[in-house]
Amino acid sequence: MNQVVASMAGSVWKIVVQEGETVSNGQDIVILESMKMEIPIAAEVDGVVKELKVSEGDFVNEGDVIAVIE
């Protein structure tokens, strides 16, 4: 199991995968918006998206878990 965490504080602008989807290492999971910049947050392992912990529009702090990949 691998957690995808926010690399900085910001809002969740777009979620680009769905729960149950198979993703590969380096694939974008969500796009955060911080200081008017889009910051893609990618998976760091191959696997299946087990859980998405955020919704579009949510505010996340640095280190918050965004998704769980199995």
Binding site: M8, A9, G10, S11, M35, K36, M37
Partner: protein, 450 residues
């Protein structure tokens, strides 16, 4: 009629900048602030300050009805929109007019005309202002885009008509790249601006981004206040600006000034405005866009002309006639502005956080425009620009030298800033030689990527 009280529908350094002139002119100021900005310096500086909503701009600084409500309750004469946020929102300018509050900027019809890049191109071409070779109408699909790109010749710039800040914009070198880029950029533009209309322009090689500052009143008087060279950019946003430009000859300066005045007159423009041009190294210039507001980099123009642009904005908006003629204006010395961003100097990723230590260089030739203070937390909700350092010199060499010294003494701790990048740019031989093309950072600072 002069204004006695105005509302500033903005935040950070520009809110403070506007208030400085208001204080000098004895105009009372009303600030509005989001939850995240409750402790911000601009809130303390205003004569009155009112909460406008939660931290996100959509719920606060872009909430037109709430802002109008505060303006009516506080009985202000006018609203200054600053830059960004609602400054180029025709709907807001129109709403102000409807409720009888003066919008300190042009009429909303001018904002509308210049807000659509395709319409702006058409208007300028008709007015006889040179435009970059490209499409006159929206490009419907990728097939049509390919046909046009082959006619004007690769490389071409794919652009969103409603775009800004580099969003929905991409250089493509062949059919395959264009095919790959078209739908994605159109979709991004639709997501960001609600309009996915695309158009194409030829890429101008070795281009400089140079803009002309204008002032126009309601009586048909229009003057230009010379140029600003704004070529050094990262992520299509300006980092260092200077005035005058090291590229322009006196003849080109005059021709660009005349073209800018012609552009403003073509749309009956009144207030401060800026015409952005791309200029190649053979002195050919092409209309890029018009900014119908005060620019971030306006202080360098103030430094070389001695004119307070915010004061002129207030005078024009209150119905006064311009008291300066073109023949009154001349360039005195050289000015450089360095934008201080809360971001990583190499990756350009934002760096929000608490400023634990702040120490600014001091000197007669140094001007600060700053929206933060020690102990203030830079939040992730707004633009990463936290301050501007403006340096004046007798000559370009002196201004560069003094800028480098000032940046060495500029201390911001607790967050990352782009100060190391600014120093690299000013210290580079290429900048000192005036080779400030829009590709500057890629060409000279980070040639291996970014």
């Amino acid at each position: 009629m002069s204004f006695t009280k105005i509302l500033i529908a903005n935040r950070g350094e520009i809110a403070i900048r506007v208030m400085k002139t208001c204080k000098r002119l004895n105009v009372k100021t009303v600030a509005i602030y989001s939850e995240a900005d409750e402790q911000a310096p601009f809130v303390k500086m205003a004569d009155e300050a009112y909460p406008v909503g939660p931290s996100r701009v959509q719920e606060s600084y872009l909430n037109i009805e709430k802002i109008i409500e505060i303006a009516q309750q506080t009985n202000v004469d006018a609203i200054h929109p600053g830059y960004g946020l609602l400054s180029e929102n025709a709907g807001f300018a129109k709403r102000c007019k409807e409720v009888g509050i003066t919008f300190i900027g042009p009429d909303y019809t001018c904002i509308e005309k210049m807000g659509s890049k395709i319409e702006a191109r058409r208007t300028m071409k008709t007015a006889g202002v040179p435009v970059i070779p490209g499409t006159e109408d929206p490009v419907k699909n990728v097939e049509e885009a390919k046909k046009i790109a082959n006619e004007i010749g690769y490389p071409v710039m794919l652009k969103a008509s409603a775009g800004g800040g580099g969003i929905g914009m991409q250089v493509v070198s062949d059919d395959a790249q264009l095919e790959k880029a078209f739908d994605g950029n159109s979709q991004r533009a639709k997501n960001f601006f609600g309009d996915g209309t695309m158009f194409l322009e030829k890429v101008i090689e070795n281009a400089h981004h140079i803009e002309m500052q204008l002032l126009a009143d309601h009586f048909g008087n229009t003057v230009h206040l010379f140029e600003r060279e704004c070529s050094v950019q990262r992520r299509h946003q300006k980092v260092i600006e200077e005035a005058p430009s090291p590229l322009l000859t006196e003849k080109t300066r005059k021709n660009m000034g005349d073209a800018a005045i012609k552009a403003a007159k073509a749309i009956n423009y009144a207030n401060a405005g800026t015409i952005e041009f791309l200029v190649d190294e053979d002195q050919n210039f092409y209309f890029l866009e018009m900014n119908t507001r005060l620019q971030v980099e306006h202080p360098i123009t103030e430094q070389i002309t001695g004119i307070d642009l915010v004061e002129k904005q207030l005078e024009i908006a209150s119905g006064k006639q311009l008291d300066i003629k073109q023949s009154d204006l001349s360039i005195k010395g050289h000015a450089i502005e360095a934008r201080i961003y809360a971001e990583d100097p190499k990756t350009f990723f934002p760096s929000p956080g608490k400023i634990t230590n702040l120490s600014l260089p001091k000197g007669e030739h140094i001007r600060h425009e700053i929206g933060v203070e020690e102990g203030f937390t830079v939040t992730p909700f707004y633009d990463p620009m936290i301050a501007k350092l403006i340096i004046s010199g007798e000559t370009r060499e002196e201004a560069i030298q003094k800028s480098m010294e000032a940046l060495e003494q500029y201390v911001v701790e607790g967050i990352k800033t782009n100060i190391p990048l600014l120093s690299l740019v000013l210290n580079s031989k290429a900048f000192q030689e005036g080779l400030t093309r829009t590709s500057f950072i890629r060409d000279y600072i980070y040639p291996n990527g970014k």
